[in-house]
Amino acid sequence: MSETEVVGNSAGDDVAETDAPEVDGVNALLVQEGDIAADYLERLLDIADYDGDIDLDVENDRAIVAIVGTDLQPLVGNRGETLDALQELTRLAVQQKTGTRSRLMLDVSGHRQARRVELSTLATDTARRVLESGEAAPLTPMNPFERKVVHDAVAAIDGVRSESEGEEPNRRVVILIDK
């Protein structure tokens, strides 16, 4: 695992602590991303007087940061707009410290998870309709995260495919017959 376990580390535990979770380079970076994000968000929760805990995870080479608590809807906002904005700022805060672009995903009270289920159902239902009618079906405009969920759901169904069209913020997915 680590080639230099002993060398130059006789100074003490305080030095060892930062590189202790180094399973591999990527994972260590993602764990670090989560820690920086947690600090940034915890302070915001403090200032704004919200009750929330922060759960950290690493999934598919991405740091997952979840704020869990009650009455956190203001942090989600209309159609998740505030959540997306906060994710953007958190990524920047992480990048500021690590010097590397972050793809971390922020969730608040399971909003993204719930939205994912909702969108998968919508995608599957629409794909069935397209298979029956043969007519392409455009969906309402969605953000990149939402479009990805739809593309993934459609990709799992034979006979249909999906494309994105239009410009942000009106970019939308179209489901159509796969000839």
Partner: protein, 78 residues
């Protein structure tokens, strides 16, 4: 609270956190938060196509500052 929240959000994303200053300005046209940062950090706070400034405003609106404008003051131009 809003000044402090915005100050914190910005301090985390700039090179010169000590130079970040946020003031609430109250006048007839409503309230706005004026942001001053180190000149080198202007681009950071505004972001490409104003994306970061928009995200800051969105979060501040979300945590209680509904309808409050966030203005980044271009110090160089004074």
């Amino acid at each position: 609270m809003l000044e402090e929240a915005l100050e914190h959000l910005i301090r985390g994303i700039v090179d010169h956190p000590d130079d970040v200053q946020v003031d609430m300005v109250d006048n007839r046209r409503g309230q706005r938060l004026e942001v001053r940062v180190h000149p080198e950090d202007l681009g950071r706070v505004i972001g490409r196509n104003g994306r970061t400034a928009k995200a800051l405003r969105q979060v501040i609106n979300g945590v209680g500052g509904k309808g409050i404008r966030v203005d980044v003051v271009d110090v160089d131009r004074r």
